[in-house]
Subunit: 168 residues, 4 copies
């Protein structure tokens, strides 16, 4: 089974997934990514490269930031890539990567509740996106709510906090 | 994208994944599955049937139990199936389902640490297995440690608590 | 032992202790108190009245709000009272209650990290304050950082996020 | 306020409080105490000595073990002592310490659910017991279920998993 012998890359950009509570400021901020702890907890044995590119709220992501994400995908020696991204502009960045047609499976995911908050969807979403990146054909995808969306047919329903096909 | 419009079935059999601490007995036992809570936390919107077949330790699983699991897979109207199973005999049950060649993607997963214990791998593993069931071709698989194994080339390394190819 | 036969009252005013993550807004807000869940988790059998007076950030607490807290203490039939309060102005409200010399043991506590966030100090602080209210002589106190302070000799060190005697 | 300037000692003996899940063995065992992590989480600033005497299930506690606990209390330079103990024989050890009349406030506590399991009563109980040790007169006490019991008038109701006065 070729998948068992595979490898993958996780590109971290920040987003709700990685927000932490700052007890002094009394608010959720970015300090460092939760990825290494989460991967250890998940007992991951797949060879995995973690590339921490950005640690920002996706509402603050500029075109230049999106080019950085695209560049990180392009440089990746692994063909299976998960991009951890804020949900608010995940679709826009997926479009930038999707249009570039890199010949790799790039799966965007994130979280509606930070990993550091009780009841987070982060571990499930990361597992879901990682398996998708190992099994899907080349392309860019958004993986949220246990659904897989092509980059050119997905939108965030901000009122519900869920992702849907644009065409529905 | 067809996957976004899919659906799946989760067949629960118990295992470490679903053990809960009984404060009176002072030990981990089975009372009810954590699946509904976990799926809500993961904000799953994929149409999903949950079939609670068994709630037992996989060391207590008999041939008759394995036939029940096979039957549950056979009866499933969904082609994408996740079986939540104890890790100790997960491979044996996967073999029973794999040999039956049901024409469905059946992905076995479980947990090394119960969902109810801090640092559980359960949410990640469930997300990983669910995406695998949606994207893999028909067959039976074991999905653990962020790896996907074919049913006929996998073993549990009990000393390490990880899964490996039998052929390695 | 008279303490074992006692009873107490918890007056809820909000504060970091009770903030919850709102996944749609993407921020910490107030919706309802965590007190009942926390008390069940702590397996509390002491007769306990929970009086939810306010659910606000303590930076927004006005003199009128502080009078409401004082009123709640005055009306309490229980002589042992815990007030769950935001840390930023906890000292000011403790002074209002302390000056009133109600003849009851009123212990102010709160949390630097919300109960709903991993690594919260809320359960420990609530247990600490509750025992203090059952055992201390009448007076108003602040109980934080596993220390007990008299209402007229305490300040918050905002840079460190800890409480200290004013006189030190 | 003298309490704010105090100090205390925590004597660890094991018990459910400190059980951890061993993923390889698939059961709850003792490896190391959770105390340091818990105290950091609780943002404790009180000068506190932690004395790890034993890490055993209280059902396995012998008379010799109880003498070790008594010795640890006797040697303690701090007059405020919390003993973290398994609930099953907590009362017996409290009697040994109580009869010795050490002139210190020794408060026994523990947990019905391990600290490492979701929904644990451990942080609340530790906070409760610590405040009790700082404020109660010299004597030996059991502090569980948000109640304080004198060592010579307490029993565990094993069916309910709660503590009660023996005299009730």
């Amino acid at each position: 089974m070729s998948e068992a012998g595979g490898s993958a890359r996780i590109i971290v950009t920040g987003g709700t997934f990685d927000k932490r509570y700052d007890a002094i400021k009394g608010e959720l901020t970015f300090s460092e990514t939760h990825l290494p702890g989460l991967l250890e907890q998940a007992r991951v044995k797949l060879p995995l490269a973690v590339d921490i590119r950005l640690l920002i709220d996706s509402l603050q992501m500029t075109d230049a930031h999106r080019q950085q994400v695209l560049e990180a995908c392009r440089e990746s020696p692994e063909r299976s890539i998960v991009v951890v991204h804020g949900t608010d502009t995940m679709v826009e960045t997926a479009q930038v990567v999707g249009r570039a047609a890199l010949g790799k499976a790039v799966v965007f995911t994130g979280a509606m509740v930070p990993y550091s908050v009780q009841g987070s969807d982060a571990p499930f979403n990361l597992g879901f996106a990682l398996a998708a990146s190992l099994t899907l054909p080349a392309g860019a995808y958004v993986a949220m709510n246990a659904k897989i969306f092509a980059w050119d047919d997905v939108m965030k329903d901000k009122a519900e906090g869920t992702f849907k096909p644009r065409s529905a």
